[in-house]
Subunit: 235 residues, 2 copies
């Protein structure tokens, strides 16, 4: 961290191509309560999203990181907002608008129970199990992608798939209305969830661009560089 | 840890009243998969169970700690077995039989989905949500409490309640067939889940014995001492 602080200090303005670019990054899982003691979670570690927040900040961006529960420490120099549920994440993201860029790396729970029980759900006998009615959570990526005066100029989503990775992601990009999608295979055998490496596909309106397997830090730097190039080309 | 190692070294046999007593301790939550990326969890941190494993070991017991996913490091000197689901915990507990004492401090998920999806469950449109059929998990405390040649001489359960704490726990002790129940209130306002303190009630065949609020370490030592006294009285 000291070394990185020194590097930051000596970096020239040329190395901050994203200076002043307001960026929202979401990361980690969300937890959806079933009752006061139980919740639905997912295996997202938050590593890829935190790495992206750090890489964007190092290129000069003004980063707000909205994160679900993880074991990670927030990167230095980012505005860190800790939330638990999808609804809380949506509210925090809307508070962070307007932003120039939104990068939705969080693994937001798709569903929650309609009415979490106020008391612990009790086991009744040896055969019954509770029936839980799920409802859809707000779709944060689709919400941020909606056209309007507050829409970030570049909205980037993630697609965590276990099969038909690129097909699902191409269709997701169109359905959500976002500009780019980073798709990855999160089947347990890949070790992506919780691991330090990732094999990503960048999908934009021109098609599918496969990236080599690399560390999540390297993928974050590659994405940040690509965003900087994109902004330069479109300036 | 060095200090505790020195204390261990200089302790006399009198201070190891549980020497050679084979003890199974369960701790932490279990995670029950919904599909490859989602699971049901609970807010158990494992702190109380780990503290009990350590306190029993320090009184000389031969401790096996079967733990669900936690952020904790296993106490030194215990036989540590890491599991994820309730079914895995039951198998590990049965492997640890015969034992003289079983202390079930884990917050085992009561239910799991009957058939976890092999692939990530996809969101279909803007209104549908999946219906998940839950089935009951094996009841580890009741299983270990069943009479038979392998039944530990002392089986101790926990009851994590958010209302009617002692009433629920008294009825749980009878229903499960265990000898003692330690009951606590885990409502979010109490800070018990994840916190360092606990307010317990020890329930045995004679009734309800309220303990003062104390650290989880202190509660673990009090329980271990009480177990040692019980074994002496019944020797």
């Amino acid at each position: 961290e000291i070394l990185s602080a020194i590097e930051d200090y000596f970096s020239t303005p040329d190395e901050k191509p994203l200076a002043g670019v307001k960026t929202l990054v979401t990361a980690g899982p969300t937890h959806e309560a079933l009752d006061p003691v139980r919740y639905i979670a997912n295996h997202s570690s938050g590593k890829q999203g935190y790495a992206i927040a750090k890489a964007m900040q190092q290129l000069g961006a003004d980063v707000t990181l909205v994160s679900g529960p993880t074991k990670l420490s927030p990167p230095q120099g980012v505005n860190f907002i800790s939330i638990t549920s999808a609804e809380e994440m949506l509210a925090a993201c809307q508070n962070a608008m307007p932003s120039d860029i939104a990068i939705c790396a969080a693994a937001v729970a798709d569903w929650r129970v309609a009415e979490p029980s106020k008391q612990k759900i009790k086991k009744k006998n040896n055969t019954e199990a509770p029936t839980l009615s799920f409802i859809q959570n707000p779709d944060i990526l689709a919400t941020l992608s909606q056209s309007g005066p507050n829409r970030p100029g570049l909205v980037i989503g993630f697609a965590a798939e276990t099969e038909h990775v690129t097909e699902n992601a191409v269709s997701k990009r169109e359905r959500k209305g976002c500009d780019w999608i980073l798709a990855n295979d999160v089947s347990p055998a890949t070790g992506t969830f919780g691991g330090d490496e990732n094999t990503l596909f960048l999908i934009d309106k021109n098609g599918v661009n496969p990236w080599h397997k690399m560390t999540k830090d390297a993928a974050a730097k590659k994405l940040s560089k690509r965003i900087a190039d994109h902004l330069t080309l479109n300036a």
